[in-house]
Every structure is written in C-alpha cells, then in structure tokens.
C-alpha cells in the first residue's frame, strides 16, 4: 500500500554491508556486499578487514538499493540502522553512514537491535507476527532463544549459548574436515550423503542435571571437541575419515539440541509460533527437523528464505517499519554504536 511508511535499513554488524528498502511488510530492495572472501583465509571474520570493506561498500550498496526499489532518498520516510550488537568498528561505519544519510536528507534515524531485526525480517515473507511467539536466532555470532511479545517494545531472552555460537561450531567442524569457510553450507551439502545416526556425538546441556540451570541455554564447545577427537582418532589409526557421516552426525546433534530446546520453550510458554532466523536457519536439516517435530505439537514454524536469514539490510528496514508503524520515537543524532546492545533494547 502506497501510504505505508517507506523505510531504509542499513546493516554492518559483521562482514555483510546491507541496504534494504521496505514499504510496510513489502520488500522493495535488498542490496548486499560481502567481505566474506577476504576473511576466508583467516578462518573467521577479521574485524578491521570488515570495517574497511564496509566503508568502501556503503555508498555503492546504497545506490544499488535505491535503483532496485526505484525510489530516491527523498522518498524515504525513515532510516533504520543496526546499532548493536556486533563488531564495534563495523557497527560504527553503518551508524555513521545512517546519520550522514539522515542529516543530508533530513530524515529521522532509528538505531535498532540486530537480533530483533532477525526476527522482524520474517514479517516480509509471512506477515505480522502473532503475539507471543518464540524466536530462535542461530548464526556465527549468536545463538539465542527469545520470547517475543511486542517487537516494538522489547523481547525477553530465554537462553543463549554459553560458549560457541552454533554457526561457529559449523565453521570449526568444517575446517576440521577440510571444508571451506564459512562452513555451514558445506557441512549441509556433505551431510546429505551421510548417515546422521552413524556417530553418536554429545548433545550439550540436555542432561537432566544441566537442564535445571540451563534449560534454554546452548553449548557447542563440547560437541566441537568430540568431533575433533573422533576425527583425529581416525587419522591416527590411519583409517579414512568418512566426511559425509561426520558432517551428518554433527549436524544432527546441533539440530537435535536447537529444535528440542526451541519447541520446549514454545510448549512451556503456550506459544504456537516458532520463528527461526540467522545464518544457521538456512541449514536444510534444521528446517526439516523443526517442521517435523513442531507438527506433533501443532506449532507453526516460520523460517524466512535463506537469503533473508543471513545478515542483510532488509531485516533492519523491516524492524524500522515496525517501529515507525508502532509510533516509536526516532533515535537522537548522538546515537552510539553499542557492540553489546542488550536484547531488551529494540531501538536506541
């Protein structure tokens, strides 16, 4: 609808420079520049490399987004930007860019929470979120379970990883198996040819004694070590490493824990909708397992398409549109980038 607010979103919290444009719940543009290839040889994101890439990419990415949406910056009603959490130097480039655009075009600016944006992006595909909903965000930087009542006002963290993020575990196991970075898509591909039941890898924080203190928390460090020991044991004894079986069994362990805890949270809170976001939500086994298990309890699983699961500007614009529609006041021009922005703060 033409009278819905036209919102521009900027994302620079990690290695993707994203500019998205939405009108209400309608996605008009989603331009992305990634520095992922520059980080590949380091096996992880190098913050200064990412920050430099954001500075180079922001202006051309904005140009592409405006062209794709067929609008000018004068048409935009508000600019939303990820102000945290994320890499401090990377966030700073996006926040300064948003302020520059806002200043020059005389538009309001909203500093928003990256994790809440991962939830909001699903509204672009599946419409408004029922309240309350449970959201599970899994990526290379975060693994969280959230209770979402009103996205404009705040989300309640239920649990998070106590060590590695889920995506980080995929990266580390991929490196162990000689697969490229980022590991998620490669593990997913290898796993299709493997037997997920062939190796019984541990499920962190699922034992009764752990559940008492960490009901909705995750731990992937032990799993990663178990995979490393198993693979190394094979290599030492001169046996070949069955890459597909290891990938499938590892992936099964991760997905088992994630879906198990997410659905337990849904049932405990009487919630009938589970939203999954973040880069790991692109994993085919996670999607399938979540669907399958949720069906038993009559819970609906909503997962945006893979391109919207990973970091992008559209998700920031989607959250901005939600905030504008809810009448939330914009941020001030001295809005800081906050690498540790808490989940309880949706907009700054």
């Amino acid at each position: 609808m033409a009278d819905e607010p036209l919102i521009l979103g900027i994302e620079t919290s990690c290695d993707e420079t994203g500019v998205g444009i939405v009108r209400g719940h309608t996605l008009l543009a989603d331009a992305l520049a990634s520095s992922v290839d520059e980080h590949a040889r380091f096996g992880g994101v190098v913050p200064e490399v990412a920050s430099r890439a954001h500075l180079e990419a922001i202006v051309p990415t904005m140009d592409r987004a405006l062209r794709e949406a067929g609008v000018t910056i004068a048409d935009i009603d508000a600019i939303a930007v990820t102000s945290g959490p994320g890499l401090a130097g990377a966030l700073l480039v996006g926040v300064a860019a948003a302020k520059g655009y806002a200043l020059a075009a005389e538009k309001p600016v909203y500093g928003v929470n990256h994790l809440a944006a991962h939830v909001a992006v699903d509204t672009l595909e599946h419409g408004p979120l029922p309240a309350p909903a449970i959201a599970m965000l899994v990526s290379g930087g975060h693994s969280s379970l959230l209770l979402v009542d009103d996205l404009a006002r705040g989300v309640t963290p239920l649990g998070a990883t106590i060590d590695d993020a889920a995506g980080e575990a995929f990266d580390k196991v991929a490196r162990l198996l000689g697969l490229p970075f980022p590991g998620g898509p490669y593990i997913d591909r290898e796993a299709r040819a493997g037997d997920p039941a062939s190796i019984g890898f541990p499920r962190g924080l699922t034992a009764a004694k752990d559940l008492a203190a960490h009901r909705y928390d995750f731990s992937f460090s032990g799993l990663k070590t178990a995979v490393a020991r198993w693979v190394e044991g094979r290599r030492r004894s001169g046996e070949p490493v069955p890459v597909a079986d290891v990938a499938a069994s590892f992936q099964e362990a991760v997905c088992d824990v994630l879906t198990g805890k997410a659905l337990a949270a849904c049932r405990a809170h009487g919630v009938d909708t589970l939203v999954i976001g973040g880069g790991v939500a692109a994993n085919s086994r996670l999607r399938a397992m979540a669907e399958q298990r949720a069906q038993r309890y009559g819970i609906r699983v909503r997962v945006p398409r893979p391109g919207l699961c990973t970091d992008n500007g559209a998700m920031v614009a989607a959250l901005g549109a939600h905030l504008v529609a809810a009448g939330v006041a914009p941020s001030r021009l001295d809005l800081p980038a906050d690498s540790a922005l808490p989940l309880t703060t949706v907009s700054v």
């Binding site: 040889r41 190098v46 200064e48 920050s51 302020k99 655009y101 200043l103 490196r175 980038a337």
Partner: protein, 248 residues
C-alpha cells in the same frame, strides 16, 4: 560557496562550515570536541550544529572536504563515511586532504586546532608565520607508541611522509631533513624523544588549512573523489594456524 569540512583523524572531532570565495576562505561556524572515544557520537550533532548556526540547510552545501588521516582506524572512518554519505545524498563533490597537511600547512599556523583565531581570508599575522626556511615535523599520536608524521617546508609543501613509525624513527628522519620545529599532539606527547622546539598550535588539523588546501579544487569545480583513508597500517589479522591436537 558554502563548504562542510570534517576531520576525525585525531582525538579532535571537527565539523565546520566555510565560505570559499574567489579570493579567500572564511570560517563561518566551527565545532570541535577532543574526545578520542566518541567520534561516532559527536560528529553528526556537530554537523547539525554548524548548519543551524549559520541558518543553512544541507541542500545549501556546495562541497565537502574531509581529512583522510592518517589516523587510528575506527575514528578516522567516522568522518569519511559521514562526508561520503552526505555527498552522495546531496549530489555534491567530496574532496580529501591529508590530515597532517592541515597541521603542517603555513595557513594552519596561528590557528588552534579547536578554534580558528582568524575568520577572514587574510594571511596569518607576521609573528605567526613560520620563519623562512623553517622546516616543520608534524606528528600525530598513532597509539601503540608510534606517531603518524610528515615534514613540510616553509611553503607548506610536504617533503616527507605521511608515514607511521616509532617517534625515534621520525626524529631521525627529521634531523636528516634539517627540521627546526615540531607541531601536533604527537609532537607534544613525544617531545622528549623528538628533541625539537615545539610549536604550540595547532595540535589537531585546522579547519582553515584543510579548506584552503582544497580551495583550488572547489573553485575549479574539480570532480569529487572517493574518500580513501590513509591507513598506513595493515589490518591486524592473524591467519588461522593449523589446529592443535586435542588428544593427550
């Protein structure tokens, strides 16, 4: 023509509006805050403040001048991304100037880093003008016990640098080049090592000098440039080492 000048290459966060006319540069409004940790918070409100002070709107700007550094990475990018994004929206050219030139140029002498002593286009007073044949070392704090440095002759020509080195290395180069004075916050900080007479001001890139150094391009309507930071250092990036054994 109304021109926005920004620099965030040092602990001083600077935004100013200058009028560039056929025969001079006049500083019309100026905000500078020295705070090494809040560049991202401070710059945009300062830009807004200088516009408000002269009653101008962003659309009244004709060009933007930005200090390209060298400077510690994170803060430096704030000024450049601000200039680049504003220039994009307004469709006006952006011009980069080496931030050390904004300290070492003769037009910077007699101005403080925080406020221009002179707000007209006349040259600096005689006593502020560097003595003839005086070569000056500009040093800015680069953290990690290093300085960003450059050497200028009395006409303001940069004859060495910009580079980043330990202060002792900059001092040795300065001696070779017969430098007779040092200026900039890094020169104050490492005065003992440099062993050169100190010039009190400017400590930070001076708006008048930055604008003066870009004035010819502005008057000529030269095409704007992509603002590329003078990082001088490679990013800290350690390649992932081969995985250590987890077996005992």
């Amino acid at each position: 023509m109304l021109v926005l000048v920004v620099d965030s290459s040092t602990p001083a966060v600077t935004a100013a509006l200058v009028e560039v006319t056929a025969d001079g540069v006049v500083v019309r409004a100026h905000r500078c805050t020295v705070d090494a940790r809040a560049h991202g918070e401070l710059l945009a409100p300062q830009v807004e403040a200088v516009l408000a002070e002269v009653g101008a709107r962003p659309g009244d700007l004709g060009a933007i001048v930005a200090g390209l550094g060298p400077g510690p990475f994170t803060g430096l990018r704030v000024g450049l991304v601000t200039a680049a994004t504003m220039g994009q929206v307004l469709g006006i050219p952006t011009y980069g100037v080496c931030s050390l030139d904004g300290i070492g140029h003769p037009s910077a002498a007699g101005t403080t880093g925080s406020a221009p002593l002179r707000e007209q286009s006349t040259p600096p007073r005689e006593q502020d003008t560097p003595a003839r044949d005086e070569r000056v070392l500009v040093a800015a704090d680069a953290r990690r016990k290093e300085v960003y440095w450059a050497v200028y002759d009395d006409s303001g020509q940069r004859i060495a640098g910009p580079a980043v080195d330990a202060p002792a290395v900059a001092a040795a180069r300065a001696r070779e080049l017969a430098v007779t004075a040092a200026v900039g916050d890094g020169a104050h900080r490492y005065a003992d090592v440099l062993g050169l007479p100190l010039r009190g001001e400017p400590r930070y890139p001076a708006v008048f000098a930055l604008a003066t150094l870009a004035a010819e391009r502005i008057r000529a309507g030269a095409p704007g440039e992509t603002l590329t930071p003078l990082y001088l250092r490679r990013p800290d990036a350690v390649a992932a080492t081969s995985r250590k054994s987890v077996l005992p």
